[in-house]
């Protein structure tokens, strides 16, 4: 419910009149909730900024949080949530930073039986609720973005494509392969083949604990796609259980070269390129 123009005017006056007392009380309340994880001066600075934000929004005639006059305030609240989210505070702790303003205002109103003051407080309380919900919303959005970013970083970290020899690249896969990751690996590998002009790729799955139909399909598709581009894939490091699963699932690896270890795979590729791996006796100088 929106405030009346009179109400927002009176609230602006109230906030400016008791500015100092409010900020101290408010910062104290928030500080208790955060249990010393934020320094007092910093907290007071933040609270003062917010107090000014509310005061200016009301003074400009804002009757609801969605009003144009409250734009600045919304930006402040958004920034507060995003900072709190990044610093690892909980959603609760973030919302309380706004809710505490109610208690602080109640503190300065003191004991009153004045009906108008009570009505003002109820209206104000509604406004604060909406502001806190807005904060909560921004908090969730920031956290979701953070999680998505981290997932992406993890994906990039976990899928290196390395050059093993002239014309040979390898992807050592480690950890559980889900469909999304398998797809990233596939695209990355194929792009590396083009960038390095390598006609051979070794997909090493020693570090993959399990393979399901979908993942096996992804690996197969990668091999076929690489072939279409003119490169050969060798799969190495298939562990006994995985070999059992592959057969049990009825997945046809067809004429795809499979080797038990990365070393075997490399030896196989070098052999195809007329290299010979020999052990040479060390000569002493």
């Amino acid at each position: 419910m929106a405030l009346s123009p009179d109400e927002s005017g009176r609230l602006a006056d109230l906030l400016s009149e008791h500015a100092d007392g409010l900020v101290v009380h408010w910062a104290e309340l928030v500080g208790n909730g955060l249990q010393g994880r934020m320094s007092r001066p910093e907290l007071e600075r933040q609270t003062r900024d917010l107090q000014k934000g509310f005061q200016q929004a009301f003074a400009a005639g804002a009757r609801d949080l969605t009003d144009e006059e409250a734009g600045e305030l919304r930006a402040q609240l958004g920034e507060l949530s995003s900072n709190r989210a990044r610093q690892g505070f909980s959603a609760n702790e973030t919302a309380i930073s706004v809710f505490a303003l109610k208690d602080a205002v109640l503190g300065v109103i003191g004991d009153t039986s004045d009906a108008q003051t009570l009505r003002d407080f109820v209206a104000f309380s509604g406004f604060i609720d909406r502001a806190a919900l807005f904060t909560f919303d921004s908090y969730v959005r920031v956290r979701e973005a953070l999680i998505a970013d981290q997932a992406e970083q993890l994906l990039e970290l976990s899928t290196p494509v390395v050059k093993l020899w002239e014309g040979v690249v390898a992807v050592p896969l480690v950890g559980t392969l889900d469909s999304a990751r398998a797809q990233v690996v596939m695209e990355r590998l194929l792009q590396t083949l083009v960038d390095t002009g390598s006609p051979y790729a070794i997909i090493d799955i020693t570090g993959v604990p399990a393979v399901d139909t979908q993942v096996a399909q992804h690996i197969l598709k990668t091999v076929v796609a690489a072939r279409l581009m003119g490169a050969d894939c060798i799969i190495s490091g298939i562990r006994p259980q995985i070999a059992q699963t592959i057969v049990a699932l009825g997945i046809e690896f067809g004429d795809i070269a499979t080797k038990s270890s990365l070393a075997d795979a490399l030896r196989y590729v070098l052999g195809k390129n007329s290299y010979k791996v020999v052990t040479s006796k060390r000569t002493e100088h």
């Binding site: 596939m186 695209e187 194929l190 792009q191 083949l193 083009v194 002009g197 390598s198 006609p199 598709k221 076929v224 796609a225 690489a226 072939r227 279409l228 581009m229 003119g230 490169a231």
Partner: protein
């Protein structure tokens, strides 16, 4: 109608497809190439598709036909430069382009042709040419 140019470099015909081909252009290329193989006597064809951002079943079929026709005319075809996104899409589409040899780039394509010509010559020197033995 635009036309895809066919260049002769030594014993090789090089085609670099740089435009989004209408179906007619693709068919025209197929004819031009067959003609050129016969008039030049070239034994290798390299088709560079690195500029193509898609290959649909029509282009795929045209490439396959070019490869088959060339083989009949004693020329080996290598398709080079297929982009990863195109390859992934072709796999999903179910088009595996059987009978087409591929290489990552023009250089590797030329190497591949040189190698297969070399093998053919080596076969010729051998007493029993395996390709010449009729299947019983």
């Amino acid at each position: 109608m635009e036309r895809v140019p066919v260049l002769k470099i030594g014993d090789i015909l090089l085609v670099s497809i740089q435009i989004d081909m209408e179906d007619q252009v693709a068919l025209q290329l197929q004819e031009d190439l067959a003609e050129k193989i016969v008039t030049t006597g070239c034994h290798g064809v390299i088709i560079d598709i690195s500029a193509l951002d898609i290959v649909d079943s029509f282009v795929g079929r045209t490439l396959a036909t070019i490869a088959s026709v060339s083989r009949v005319l004693d020329a080996e075809t290598v398709v080079v430069g297929m982009r990863p996104a195109v390859a992934i899409t072709l796999v999903e589409l179910g088009l595996s382009l059987p009978g087409i040899r591929t290489a990552l780039n023009v250089e590797l394509g030329i190497e591949m042709l040189a190698r297969s010509r070399g093998e053919v010559w080596q076969d010729d020197e051998d007493e029993g040419d395996p390709a010449a033995v009729p299947a019983s």
